[in-house]
């Protein structure tokens, strides 16, 4: 599958928007191109988080797997989507299953490669983590607001989960 200019493509991805030309070149040396057919799995929930993906063409589905073989689609993502970016700074297992919906192409940046950049003093890598942090912080606030709304509107369910919710809101107090 033909891949467009990496510089051109990555410059449009918000996570990399702050990188200059040299930093994009440095990053492009560390990514590998990936191609998948329809229905191929990128990773499963619980897998070791070994790197992040950026979708160039095609679509992928993101699924929660609550157990007993069931799965719930959380999102469908297309060109420009970044998946698993938290693995660049966090070794937690994959929190969802991701599978292609159609023929898909993209890029993979391994955690090892990113660590080489980061610990080698790459300013580009620092900018990526900063952008990632800002995205997460925004996502956290939106998600917390959603949870607050749910707690307020569903008292019975909230009571059933009150211990976990109190612990969660207690942790969120600090941040």
């Amino acid at each position: 599958m033909l891949h467009v200019s990496l510089h051109t493509f990555f410059h449009e991805v918000p996570l990399f928007a702050g990188l200059d030309a040299d930093e994009l070149t440095e990053l492009s040396r560390e990514v590998v191109t990936r191609d998948w057919g329809a229905g191929e799995r990128l990773f499963s929930q619980g897998d070791v988080s070994d790197g992040m993906y950026v979708i160039e063409r095609g679509e992928v589905g993101v699924f929660a797997c609550p157990g007993q073989g069931s799965r719930v689609m959380l999102a469908e993502l297309g060109p420009g989507a970044v998946i698993g970016e938290l693995s660049l700074v966090d070794g937690s297992p994959r929190s969802a299953l991701v599978e292609t919906v159609s023929m898909t192409s993209g890029y993979f940046l391994s955690r090892d490669a990113f660590d080489r950049l980061r610990f080698g003093g790459s300013l580009g890598a620092t900018k990526i983590v900063l952008a990632l942090g800002r995205t997460l912080e925004q996502r956290k606030r939106v998600t917390e607001e959603r949870l607050r709304t749910l707690v307020g509107s569903n008292a019975e369910a909230a009571e059933l989960h009150s211990r976990e919710l109190r612990e969660l809101f207690g942790r969120l107090l600090k941040s």
């Binding site: 700074v89 937690s92 998600t143 369910a157 909230a158 989960h161 919710l165 809101f169 107090l173």
Partner: protein, 153 residues
């Protein structure tokens, strides 16, 4: 400016070397608050992260408290960090922070943090990693809580 030795035994400060410690202390602003005084108020624009040096502060979430989902929490250990997310984004505080006793805190303003980070200061990089990891864990926990609430009949 000096802080008690226990300050440096708490994450992320426990990863700071001597140069990092000195750089952090030079970048941070010292603030003394009296008992009962607000460190920051709900609704105020967050200007940076706060590290407790001495004394006791209390955090409260009036909105969640009203539905029984939160009680005020006290923080009394040197090195405890508050409002780390404000290193990354300006937002309005959702919670009150009030001094329970006379207290001393260090504030690292967001603009100073970003300048030091992009200048390559190691202490800022350690703070960034800590903050991003924390945010990631919290997003996961929030999503799990939402999923639990939505999965109930």
């Amino acid at each position: 400016m000096s802080v008690p030795s226990e300050f440096w035994s708490v994450a992320p400060f426990d990863a700071f070397d001597a140069v990092g410690r000195a750089a952090f202390l030079a970048a941070a602003e010292r603030r003394e608050v009296s008992a009962g005084e607000a460190v920051y108020e709900r609704g105020a624009t967050a200007r940076g992260a706060w590290a407790l040096v001495s004394g006791v502060v209390e955090l409260s979430d009036p909105e969640m408290r009203s539905v029984g989902m939160s009680s005020p929490s006290t923080y009394d250990a040197p090195g405890m960090l508050l409002s780390t997310g404000s290193l990354l984004q300006a937002f309005a505080h959702r919670r009150h922070c009030t001094a329970r006793t006379d207290a001393v805190l260090l504030c690292l303003p967001r603009e100073v943090f970003e300048t030091r980070l992009l200048a390559g200061d190691a202490f800022a990089a350690r703070l960034l990693d800590y903050t991003v990891s924390l945010s990631g864990r919290e997003v996961r926990a929030l999503n799990a809580a939402i999923h639990s609430l939505l999965s109930r009949p």
